[in-house]
């Protein structure tokens, strides 16, 4: 079954025109293509934080607009490229993020477990402002993953990571997501990683 689909000709503000795209469910899919070809924009449209021209994107064969939008965003969660963490400890960040969703705070051991999946085994009392860019990115990812969406949209999750950590992170993610039936759509520039982890690859911006 298709997770997402959009017909040929979907375009965004006359700048980017997309080919027909079909993304499979229960897969680790990659979207690749050179910079500026509209990968991030496509992810944002999938997450309903950016308007797609009406009815042209389908989620589980229903137009995306037919879903109540906040529930949809909690089910299909985009981890944006630009990391944001509050000033404070990792624990406080989890609390503040969950508070924004008006949900109860996750347990310490759950937080620790998700941090470890995301290669971010830091103490919960570590202050986020002392973490490096790559460390912050992993903590940020752990917060989103801990909310257990059904679909995870990742926008260059390995951009600030070294090769070794990137591999471990994607390996852990793939394992965790397939165990928990989470579909993943990931934008990535690293061809090697795509070859190793992709169940499906969608290439954008290719000359035809």
């Amino acid at each position: 079954m298709e997770l997402f689909s959009s017909k040929e000709g979907l375009c965004f503000q006359q700048l980017i025109t997309y080919p027909e795209i079909k993304i499979n469910a229960d897969c680790f899919s990659f979207i690749t293509g050179k910079s500026g070809c509209g990968k991030s924009t496509y992810l944002r449209m999938l997450s309903a934080t950016l308007s797609a021209p009406d009815g042209q994107i389908f989620y589980r064969s229903k137009p995306l607009e037919d879903y109540p939008v906040l529930d949809y965003r909690r089910e299909v969660m985009l981890v944006p490229q630009q990391v944001f963490l509050f000033d404070g400890t990792i624990r406080e960040n989890f609390d503040l993020f969950y508070d924004m969703r008006e949900e109860k705070q996750p347990l310490d051991e759950d937080v620790q477990r998700f941090l470890s999946i995301c290669c971010a085994d830091f103490p919960l009392s570590a202050n986020c402002s002392t973490l490096s860019g790559g460390e912050r990115q992993r903590v940020f990812l752990a917060i989103f993953l801990s909310a257990m969406p059904k679909v995870l949209l990742l926008d260059e999750p390995t951009a600030a990571l070294d090769e070794q950590t990137s591999e471990t992170l994607l390996h852990n993610l793939k394992q965790f997501c397939s165990q928990n039936n989470i579909s993943v759509v990931c934008v990535c520039h690293n061809g090697e990683l795509v070859r190793r982890f992709a169940d499906q690859e969608i290439r954008l911006g290719e000359e035809r």
Binding site: Q82, M100, R101
Partner: protein, 256 residues
């Protein structure tokens, strides 16, 4: 107590000499705002001469129409100033700002003149100066509040986007910004209350004392006007921000 010394025109014009000091300092520090200063001084002079003449006429020929017209122009002008300082707001946000300035202005003015002072709402001697003070302060307060709101939103795009993606409701995300901007709008007024009477004798009180009013009466008016200003700034900024921020997201819960 003596009435105020009637200023002779030649005497009065001496005060403009002080501007030379300002120009001198500007030149020394190469602040290229001499033109602005001159334009501002001329505008101020002309506007005040006009309002002096108009007020003299209105006081001699009091008529509700004049009062209504004068107050409307003041309200319109302060709304216009706030909006021209914040050009890139959407239309609905602008309408909300205009409506909250106008409605809270009207309410506080009515309460002050009719309930506290016990005068008719059409008495120009009370209504016009008081609404002038109210509108002037409101203009500054609301302007500051909206500006803070816009700038803090612009500076926090990453935060807003991250929380939106995490599935937080726009209301929940934007409320802290509303609260912070409201605080910024209110603080100057509250702070000026703290220093009042110690460091500064405020304008209205000074004016009344100069014209021969007993200081004990003058302070009552001053206290009343300060509380009125505080209420007015708070309620106008609250209305503008609290109802205005809702215009920033649509039914798809995207924050514009």
């Amino acid at each position: 107590m003596n009435g105020i010394v009637q200023l002779q025109l030649w005497q009065f014009s001496l005060i403009y000499l002080l501007l030379l000091i300002v120009i001198f300092i500007m030149k020394r520090c190469s602040i290229n705002r001499t033109k602005l200063l001159i334009v501002a001084s001329i505008k101020m002079t002309v506007q005040l001469i006009l309002s002096g003449l108009i007020l003299t006429y209105i006081f001699e020929n009091p008529h509700p129409i004049f009062v209504v017209a004068y107050v409307s122009v003041m309200v319109w002008f302060s709304i216009h100033r706030v909006l021209s300082n914040n050009k890139d707001l959407n239309k609905r946000f602008k309408a909300v700002i205009a409506l909250s300035i106008a409605s809270s202005g009207l309410f506080v003015l009515l309460f002050f003149v009719c309930v506290v002072v016990g005068e008719s709402i059409f008495n120009p001697q009370y209504v016009i100066p008081i609404s002038g003070m109210l509108m002037g302060n409101t203009m500054t307060g609301v302007s500051l509040g909206i500006k803070t709101f816009r700038e803090s939103l612009d500076g926090q795009r990453a935060k807003i986007n991250a929380l939106l993606c995490f599935g937080a409701a726009p209301k929940k995300i934007l409320m802290p910004f509303v609260k912070q901007s409201l605080e910024t709008a209110m603080l100057p007024t509250i702070n000026s209350m703290i220093g009042m009477g110690v460091v500064s004798l405020p304008g209205m009180m000074t004016g009344q004392i100069l014209s021969g009013t007993l200081p004990t009466t003058a302070i009552l008016y001053q206290i009343a006007i300060m509380i009125a200003i505080c209420t007015m700034v708070t309620s106008a900024s609250f209305g503008a921000l609290y109802f205005g921020y809702r215009t920033l997201y649509d039914s798809k819960k995207q924050i514009i």
